[in-house]
Symmetry: C2
Subunit: 313 residues, 2 copies
């Protein structure tokens, strides 16, 4: 298998993982777990979202979180923004990386951002201008890039239109999001290969939800296509309003575990990642779909003595 | 991606799925779900195990199950046997396919079969002779082929010794089992490629547990290596005594869903497979780790109207 030797993981738990939680999580708890994530060796952390507090109440304290977080030398911190006001807030609390987002389909953009794609991207222009003036990085994410719950698969030509627009704005880091867990490995390989070849100037990030169990095979396929940056969420937190009760984002500890087992470097301390996942689970106070939290890592198992239990076959 | 166009799935839920369940499942319920599995288009079903009832009480009624099952023309039925007595029982109730099993490691063979590998395979000889006399097929499975909870990774040379012995006995169908969910995609690809090339006369089957979430990426890697037969268990039933509470076998409906999404044919009706998974879950009376049972299949989602719920990013 032709895989990258090193993978960059971005922890999106503080934003995409906590976002759907109904009970508001204390700002100090958010800042504390972000510090622990940085200390575990995660190189990029999405700490929150500067969006309207009525739209996403859980993210209302992102300004405060950003101020409380200790800036680790090895870690980069980014936040999602939805408009100029969001960029202003990001600048005001010392962030130097914002992520702009729109959907790959009109229906999802209308449903999620209450406006057509054209309006979303029109708004990007002033965001980017402000970001540039203040010397902060702006990356972009395209939601439902591997399938929309209303429109199904997104034609490759449509995706390309979106990407050309973003690169035309000067954006050089783009996340393709499988927001509702609709991608499959053949499709991911095909789209990822095409994008890597067509836009060599772009740093690609994949953001895969494990809604239907395909996040890890999708990430494997994307790695074979040459992508080496992936979002993940501690304990597998996150969710999808179209599949209540289903799995969320791919769990950071599950992804790190698989990558390390395959001999792929992440720079992350797996034991600390597992501790952070346990903490994240305690913070939200409910079960999650992390496999490693339930099974433990392989290395621990091998140290055990035979347990004498019989299981034939 | 270079994948097989068609995959053969063997439903092992009636054996490996039900086996660890503490409450004894009614024989009629077992026969009924086996009939439904056959009706859904599954071409191979492992209906039970002819092993000592004290070792695995849940499998004590396999003879009765075999007699009750309606033999669908498109389906083949196999059962696990552990010795000559098992083959006799299989023959007595009209089975025409038995599966012999030993572990890849001495420690696991001792723990699971209470004897060294040499004794296990010595016993195979009379099993095979009896099977041959009665014109029934004998296949084999090697447990913990991708890692032993006591010994760790199994050297490839050791695996080859086991396989040469089995092929020397005339066995032409061998299952490599990741009994405790310790395989990873790079390793699976490497072993699978090697075996496919070294033993072209063997029909290979992979039996992957999803203990640490790697069953689907492992199956994807094995498909890239040219393997096209996989065991799976309805609702993801099954388990591992070394990781209590962890996920079991890869769920049949999750695997079929991924394969169909990738355009790979299985001959299985996914809707019926999901119904059977629901039934299996009702039979055992507890939650399982099936993703599709929780999230539903992608095709259902696309038919829905926008739900108006906002989830930014």
């Amino acid at each position: 298998m032709n895989l990258p030797k090193t993978v960059t993981i971005c922890e999106v738990g503080p934003r995409d993982g906590f976002q759907p939680e109904k009970s508001i999580i204390a700002t100090t708890a958010k800042a504390d777990i972000i510090n622990r994530v940085a200390a575990s060796g995660v190189p990029v952390i999405e700490i929150g979202a500067f969006v309207h507090p009525k739209a996403v109440p859980q993210m209302a304290d992102t300004d405060e979180v950003a101020r409380k977080v200790a800036k680790y030398p090895g870690a980069q911190y980014r936040a999602l923004v939805s408009n100029r006001k969001g960029v202003e807030r990001a600048i005001a609390c010392g962030m130097n990386w914002v992520k702009l987002t729109h959907s790959a389909s009109e229906s999802h953009n209308l449903s999620n951002f209450n406006q057509p794609i054209a309006s979303s991207v029109k708004g990007f222009e002033e965001c980017l201008e402000l970001a540039k003036t203040h010397g902060i990085t702006a990356s972009a994410a395209i939601s439902v890039a591997f399938g929309c719950p209303f429109e199904g698969k997104i034609p490759l030509a449509n995706l390309e239109v979106h990407i050309r627009r973003l690169t035309g704005y000067g954006i050089r880091e783009i996340s393709l999001s499988d927001t509702t867990g609709m991608g499959n490995p053949v499709q991911v390989y095909s789209i990822a290969s095409h994008m890597v070849q067509t836009f060599p100037e772009v740093k690609w990030i994949l953001h895969m939800h494990d809604t239907r169990g395909m996040a890890l095979p999708n990430i494997l396929a994307a790695m074979e296509a040459g992508i080496s940056s992936f979002d993940a969420s501690f304990a597998g937190l996150g969710g999808c309003p179209y599949a209540p009760g289903a799995s969320g984002n791919i769990a950071t500890e599950d992804l790190v575990h698989m990558l390390h087992e395959m001999g792929v470097n992440t720079g992350i301390d797996l034991d600390l990642a597992i501790e952070n996942a346990r903490l994240a689970k305690a913070i939200v106070g409910h079960e999650t779909d992390s496999r490693i939290l339930k099974a433990g890592k392989i290395a621990d198992l091998i140290l055990k003595k035979p347990c004498g239990q019989t299981k034939i076959g």
